[in-house]
Amino acid sequence: MAINVKVNGATRSVNAEPDAPLLYVLRNDLELNGAKYGCGVSQCGACTVLIDGVATRSCVTPLSRVGQSEVTTLEGLGTLAKLHPLQQAFIDEQAAQCGYCTNGMIMAAKALLDRNPRPTEAQVRAGLADHLCRCGSHNRIVRAVLRAAQTNGRI
């Protein structure tokens, strides 16, 4: 059935069942690569998107629960031509190895900085505690978030 979802500022119609996980709708119907499948059971954070500004795991969010809310994905933060400060900071700090966790880290950091624009390092670590990285890029990720927090105020 056709269902409307608001993603990155546009209303899109998708042909999916209401219980379809948002992750697959974003990736397969809307061809958005940002959110990643990592575990499918809300344990790793790779699939994180913002729903009305709240970091949400799209792998366990059925389409029906999205309703009229605004979904923001990594693509909605910025583009290659106009990077969001977090995206820029992740490049500046070279804050990845494989980059598979990057989406979740950036989206969770976005929600974190929206709540707390000047977090301490410990707050960043705590805020990303349930986002897994398997490559050992953690310290770079923390540096990138702190760097973005510094530039954020000036954007």
Binding site: A20, N28, A46, L83, I91, Q97, H138
Partner: protein, 736 residues
Amino acid sequence: MNAPHLTRRDFTVGLGGIALAFSLAPIAMTQQPPRLPGSLETNRLLSAWLAINADGTATVLTGKVELGQGILTALSQIAAEELDLPLARVTIVSGDTGRTPNEGQTAGSLSVEASGTALRFAGAEVRAILLELAAKKFGVAVDGLKVTDGTITAPDGRRVSYGELASEADLKREATGKVAPKPVAQHRLVGQSSPRVDLPAKVTGGGAFVQDLRLPGMLHGRVARPPQYGAQLETFDEAKVRAMPGVVTVLRDGSFLAVAAEREEQAIKAVEALSASAKWKAGPALPDPARLYEQLKALPTQDTVISNKDGPLLASGAKVVEATYRRPYQAHAALGPSCAMAQMRDGQLTVWTHSQGVYPLRGTIARALGMKPPSIRCIHMEGAGCYGHNGADDVAFDAALLARASNGRPVRVQWTRAEEFMWEPYGPAMTMQARGAVADGRIVDWNYDVWSQAHNMRPGDPDGINLLSSWYLADAKPPGPARQAAAPNFAGDRNAIPTYDLPRQRITHHLIKDNPLRTSALRTLGAYANVFAVESFMDELAAAAGVDPISFRLAHVTDPRERAVIEAVAKAANWKPGEKGNGVRGRGIGYSRYKTIAAYTAVIVEVEVDRATGKISVPRAWSATDAGLIISPDGLINQIEGGIIQSASWTLHEHVRFDRNGITSRDWASYPIMTMPDVPKIENVLLNRPNDRPLGAGEASQGPAVAAIANAFAAATGRRLRELPFDPARVKAALA
């Protein structure tokens, strides 16, 4: 020019190895082809490595692939350096059996040495060819020409660009290896921390991974795995699943059961229905986890003495120390489970895969499916960070099986988290037994035995099919045998031979021939466990000798580069000889030269032990590394630091759980790893050796890190942990 003039080169290209060997046998006997540097030796044409394009860009071709280690950036730097092109004008194509050289597997920290060396020499030679063409065009000597950013300038100011010379440059010729690469002093790009070429796409949601590939008409595939190793499918409800929405293919072949559907969530529902209806005959029981190591040691082994030095017999008064160390099965557990796409059209199979070796994969799929390798093309695309032989090849074969049954439509197969945990090949459980002796502050005897299952069960084995699903097909083809790997790379015995100068030593590898749990290559192979054991034992011997562990190591090294990294890390950490722990805090060191031929790395860590909960934290770590000529300092630090963190996670948390009925580690709750708040702060020192060749460093820090943690715990508490992981239960038992 177009006369049918058959050169030896054309002959090679046009006819194949067998005809060549025949016809040229007499020549080959008198004229050995010159030995070429790096992978040029096995892929000898310049055009196999480089193309100069009319738009002035260069295309680099490499058989090595990106695993998250930044290798494509490093290789682009090397090629751009030698060609005198800006990095932005170099594009790189990697791991495609239709286009790139065959460089086997991307593994063992060998890529910079193999592919990088080939590109260095090929780049220098291609640049020389372009210069010659320009010299001819201008009627001047090559010596007077200058190259800047791909434009050649004559002494009188005339210019010509690489792009303009592209059509005349014949690169379909064998490399000579005779054009010297640039001296280090002239490097502009090598040695600089070039930003990773893949990151912009990864931070903006650009298509970067095989998971992101979408083809028109693509189906979503899933496999209904058996409940345990070796279980056999008896019945399942095919009709019910066929009637489910979106289901296009239901494939049963022996005990291989899979489905493909229009939509991903439909495929998931369909595979759940398949699994729910399937009846299986149980497979063999797994070992009893409570007696795992005894049971493993009782299995048949192939024993090899890999080093034997008969020095003077023990003097009386020598202190003898004995210890046994253990490492459990550990998982790669890439953050993104394995994924692949395959399409079969007109007898041609194309597979998009994050395999570490597209050529070995192609050959093995060909044998498994009874196809000819030329009718299969395997194209590498990145997957999530790859730390060795995970499910990448297996899922590629799953996709191929489903594609063959899906009428030309491409099929994307995504393994689930549970599937990856339960079916990937693990890093083997290992036992390391050491007996040594010290006298007068020096080691006088060293005996070391290591027991391990195979670490190399990748596709490409000539005697078996190392692809999971092939073992379950009606026409099942079993895996290859466990194999002993040779020096210097070794496998379960990697780094079992210490680099220390020891008067007497005997080191024996016991290769367990059986596979009670599926194992293969996990980052460092046996080095993680062997360096854990060797370096823990060094501290145990140092303690017996009453000598500071760093002084003790320095007393046993002969290579000045080893000495330099150990001294550098001690300096960075401000190590105080004879420093002592205080019951809850302490520091320790671990050192190794990876594979005894690659990068030198020493690590010091500080641990904090919560005696009540048994939790060990690692707040800080320091490292020092000598990887020869450094291509990208930041890339190197990323590898070293990532390796320390990954090793700390293996060391404190990780072991594959199982019971007699099967694997019970199925998600991140049953296989926990280190998380952000527990990750140590790390300071890294790099010792650049611009005049020495680059040494592989992607796996250099894991061994030293585990040993440093073990030694720090011993320094903190006076007790020693010899069985991994150092989880709270073991810590409490050690402190009791």
